[in-house]
Amino acid sequence: MLLGVWLGKLMAWLLRLTGRRATSLPGQLALRLTPRLLSQLGGQLRRCVIVTGTNGKTTTANLLAHMMEQAGPLVHNREGANLPQGLVTALLQYTSWLGRLRVSTALFEVDEATLPAVAACLPVKVAAVTNVFRDQLDRYGELDGALGKLLTGLRQTQAVLVLNADDPLAHFLGLRCGRPVVAYGMSRSCVQTHSHQQVRDGAFCLECGTRLTYDGFFYGQLGLYRCPACGFLRPHPDVLGVWQGDALEVEEAQLPRVRYHLPVRGLYNVYNALCAIACARVLGLNAEQIAAGLAQFQAPLGRMQAFTTRPPSVLHLVKNPAGCDSVLAAVQAEPGRKVVCAAIHDLAADGRDVSWLWDADFEQLASDPSVVSCVATGLRAEDMAVRWKYAGVARERIACHPDLAEGLALAFAAAAQQGATVHCLATYTALAPLADLLQRREQADASQPAYRPSVS
């Protein structure tokens, strides 16, 4: 075991020395030498909290980490490296050269497909499922497969499950796992009034196959659902959220409502905050610790990350239809004119199949006059451009270049001409290179006084 620990730690040290991020490689190397390292290190923990699900894992886990750190030190795979090697890398940071873990609590974001392989290695006391949307079909087979993996993984734990009551698939998981459940959900008053075509995953009752009816939708499949045939229905949330702009009021049985200031934008992020708060309450944290944790949070890479370029730009991660629709809605809610620049890659981590572009509601861009131009870039730029054309975006508003730097240049040129903000949408592997390009542009713009707006 020690050889694995040493080489892993050494590798992490070398990577940091050369200025690189050490999120997975040290763990990968250590695991190759000591395959059972995860359970050997994980076994030394007193308690472990797991955040899994399709969308919002990283944001939820980071919010929760800040809350938990108010109560003590924490092992956490902060950069979202959510495969076994990522978990081991995080654990190695707190492991002595003698193989002793110096911290007793861990918080891990875990990929759904990875959960069955790691659940039994860790003393999981709390497991949160943010939602179960379709995600990366070619990696997991089909949706039934993703649900099955979650079920298998969660059943291996002794955890209290923190589940999204508004998601029929997450609720179904709770019914099937036989573990105690704390459900969180949004108040009726937050139901969306507009009726875009909804993403229909899980729109059928998993118990009996009948179509679910909804009294209202929050977004995607999240809403006030019930099965007319068998009585499967959205449970009343134990932790209920009422969203009011930049604040979230949280209600628990018998307790007075608590109002929290939100460090995030957009309904999908409000769900992440609510999930983190529900976990924190299960872990026994109080309102002050939760509020202090929220206050320390900074939006991670690509979650509405703003850049002070000229024109200004915002970077968003998109990876599946539900996530993409939330991002598009958030972009449209921003004031002023927008240029949308979508960087679509299809490498293994993105999912090789880009058919999800057709399930996302790009039609809403076509009908929004504030979206003045759409630029497609990345390895699958042309697919994105075709999708926009068929969504009804006028041909002259569509531009396309597969090279990220060239595509971004087109977007900034259009935005400068039209007085617009550039909203970059990027799939997973396009995110870091795009952030890099935006940062460089930020620096270049700051050092060019000629373009600075006049002070008078």
Binding site: R134, L137, D138, G141, E142, L143, D144, R200, A203, F204, G209, R211, D346, R352, D353, V354, S355, W356, L357, W358, D359, L379, A381, E382, D383, A385, V386, R387, K389, Y390, A391, G392, R395, I398, C400, P402
Partner: protein
């Protein structure tokens, strides 16, 4: 004014796993851009499909559970399906919908889930799943590109939709992909199928217009973006050049298989 072209999308609430919505969207837009009237009926699960009211029917793919639900529903109207398809009803069936057209789908347990029996075709589930980018050469519309993701190996004696250039196709062994019989188009290709394959989309539209008794002349469209996406996919994803594939279907493939009814003139 001529009547509109009537397209039915069967069970979009159940069978829409691979963005089949994109296929509908493509057909509808390509009609609208030419000033052709078109209406789409989404037939929800549980409704009786009134086949005589449609000029083109789309059947998509679903997860295994959903597909079984659809299979049970469809088999109740087997006689109607057989009559309609024999009379030339244009049908586009993708992935799970394609498998349902056959005699049965054999699960790994050996259990056989009966299909609609419209085609002399069987499918056997096997590991591993056949997943990846695919290009085929078809006689009538050149290369067809897309993505495939299926556990089933499908075998039949009908003419295929095309010959596999890259990828797996029907069964990863005989080099065929899909089926092209009467006015039935069946395939494992999604991604979705039609947006990047505008020639196939137009062939389908012409077939439907003819069946509807409407003029089947289609005005050419500006397909610059679509063909760019098609070419980029061939070159960047499959390392095939457009010229290579254009030359690859020999005149022999243009000939119809023996026993096939003569081509309509």
């Amino acid at each position: 004014m001529p009547r509109s072209l009537r397209i039915a999308h069967l069970y979009p609430d159940l069978l829409n796993l691979y963005a089949d919505r994109g296929n509908i969207r493509t057909l509808v837009q390509r009609c609208r851009w030419r000033g052709l009237a078109v209406e789409v009926t989404a037939v929800p699960a549980g409704d009786v499909p009134r086949l005589h009211e449609y000029d083109l029917v789309l059947l998509g793919g679903g997860s295994d559970r959903e597909q079984q639900l659809v299979g049970q529903t469809l088999r109740r109207y087997q006689a109607e399906w057989r009559a309609a398809v024999a009379a030339g009803l244009p049908l586009l069936a993708i992935c799970g919908g394609y498998q349902l057209l056959g005699e049965y789908y054999e699960l790994p347990s050996g259990e056989r889930v009966p299909g609609l029996e419209l085609l002399e075709m069987t499918t056997v589930a096997k590991s591993p799943r056949l997943i990846g980018n695919i290009a085929i050469a078809s006689a009538k519309c050149g290369t067809i590109v897309g993505f495939e993701n299926h556990g089933g190996r499908t075998y039949h004696r009908h003419p295929p939709l095309g010959r596999v250039l890259r990828g797996h196709g029907n069964n990863a062994s005989d080099g065929t992909e899909g089926v092209r019989w009467l006015n039935v188009f069946g395939t494992y290709i999604h991604g979705p199928l039609l947006p990047k394959n505008p020639r196939l989309a137009d062939q389908l539209l012409r077939t439907a217009l003819r069946y509807a008794g409407l003029p089947d002349e289609l005005e050419p469209l500006d397909d610059e973006l679509e063909l760019a996406a098609h070419a980029a996919f061939l070159e960047r994803r499959l390392q095939l050049s457009t010229q290579q594939t254009e030359g690859s279907h020999s005149p022999g493939e243009e000939r119809l298989p023996a026993g096939h009814p003569s081509r309509p003139t």
